[in-house]
Symmetry: C2
Subunit: 293 residues, 2 copies
Amino acid sequence: MSSVTVLRSRSKTVEIGADRPFCVIGERINPTGRKKFAADLRAGDLGTVTHDAVAQVEAGADMLDVNAGIPLVDEAELLASMLKTVQAAVDAPICIDSSVIEALEAGLSVYEGRALVNSVTAEDDRLSEILPLVARHDAAVIGLANDETGIPETPEKRLECARKIVATAADFGIARDDVVIDPLAMTVGADPQAVRTTLQTISLIRDELGVNMCLGASNVSFGLPDRHVLNAAFLPMAMAAGLTSAIMSTASVVVDAVRASDLLLGHDEWGANWIAAHRARQATLAAQGASVS
Amino acid sequence: MSSVTVLRSRSKTVEIGADRPFCVIGERINPTGRKKFAADLRAGDLGTVTHDAVAQVEAGADMLDVNAGIPLVDEAELLASMLKTVQAAVDAPICIDSSVIEALEAGLSVYEGRALVNSVTAEDDRLSEILPLVARHDAAVIGLANDETGIPETPEKRLECARKIVATAADFGIARDDVVIDPLAMTVGADPQAVRTTLQTISLIRDELGVNMCLGASNVSFGLPDRHVLNAAFLPMAMAAGLTSAIMSTASVVVDAVRASDLLLGHDEWGANWIAAHRARQATLAAQGASVS
């Protein structure tokens, strides 16, 4: 009963699934908390968008999240421009990230391929606004496991939200394969039980619904030092519990932890990808050594 | 129903438990696969023992494994000498590692404190040989989840072995708190399902027996490149499943993954240890920077 979610750019297809290598979605093209980037975008300078798109794909991202949320900016127009820029730079499929319905609409209109829409929640008005749009564009959608009452504290209530999203999506003609649930990762700096709750939610959703899951992995380490090391320890746990994709940092320590986990969990048989990546690193080091000497 | 295993050196106490930070047992003082070290030991040179004891404790080991298994050497005599050397160098409690009953006996006789004996299996003759020795010395014991038929392929059969060890230990007067089960980690390079089997075994033993567990974590990456990165991804998974200690590398990437997992799993509330370790690293870097400039 495990799902496969198919996303496409103009030229590349990515499949998210429990029997596939983990899907790494680069988190970087997002002005939240990036003052300089936000100022550039406001001024119409999209150079950093191109740079970050290329850098994240080179660092191992399978897909890219693109978010244009800046206060007092026409988010629909900016998101469309950013999507065009990313599509011109790389061939990774895109996760179109906005809470504004007009921005999602504009984004889907300029997107060439099959996008992942980020996101809907289990709130009735969000479901009835966003799901028809997702269905009309034949996209897939991330559903956050929260509703009108906020973020549920228990895994069971998050499962209820997930179940509602999957059922309502079906009513709108969206297949279970195209609903990717976000089990919600909160910062462990504010709640020592936050990660355990997320891990239990992941296991429960895997066992009960069998749908793909995606979360904003960097949230767990918010406010703490050495965040990459924390993120690199969190992802193996979440993958072992059943997480199949994440919007995440593409810092090498984090991506390496994901690819190591693919091998450990049997998604890289006999370590073919792992060994190839090792040889590529060795070749790069040798080339750097040669150019230094 | 979760267990607490108390180990002691002359001056230091370590507790292994599901509500405690993970117990890191340094694997290095073992001549298996270390030709130079084996040759030194054979020649009576214990300098590397002292060096490795100090280095592993500095790198974050809570306990040290000590193994003297060299072909055609009097293992009892060598193990006793090595234990004296380690006890003179550091105050970490010790895991006395041998398959030879006379060596365990000699080791326990020179050990000052409460040792962890590594190991017994679920084989009848091993149980009846080793458990009385463990009981007589008031030690704790690692029980490998295999028996006369070899290493069970299924988590359920490993659980059966574990159950037998716990029950037989009780017959010899050894408390459940003092039995630490090794759920067995095999290399994923030989079997893509090896890690999943180990993780399921850990969960099962935690849920059914509630005893502490310890495994040789580096086994999972045997024969593969970039082993530390694989080990650093494996341990968070195993800890989330319920593993409470490991005989492991103290390479910084691996120890950092364990301490990150302690924080993520709620065993380092508000990140007090994590933040203190971060500040210590910053201070070291600053001191190095100052000495360079």
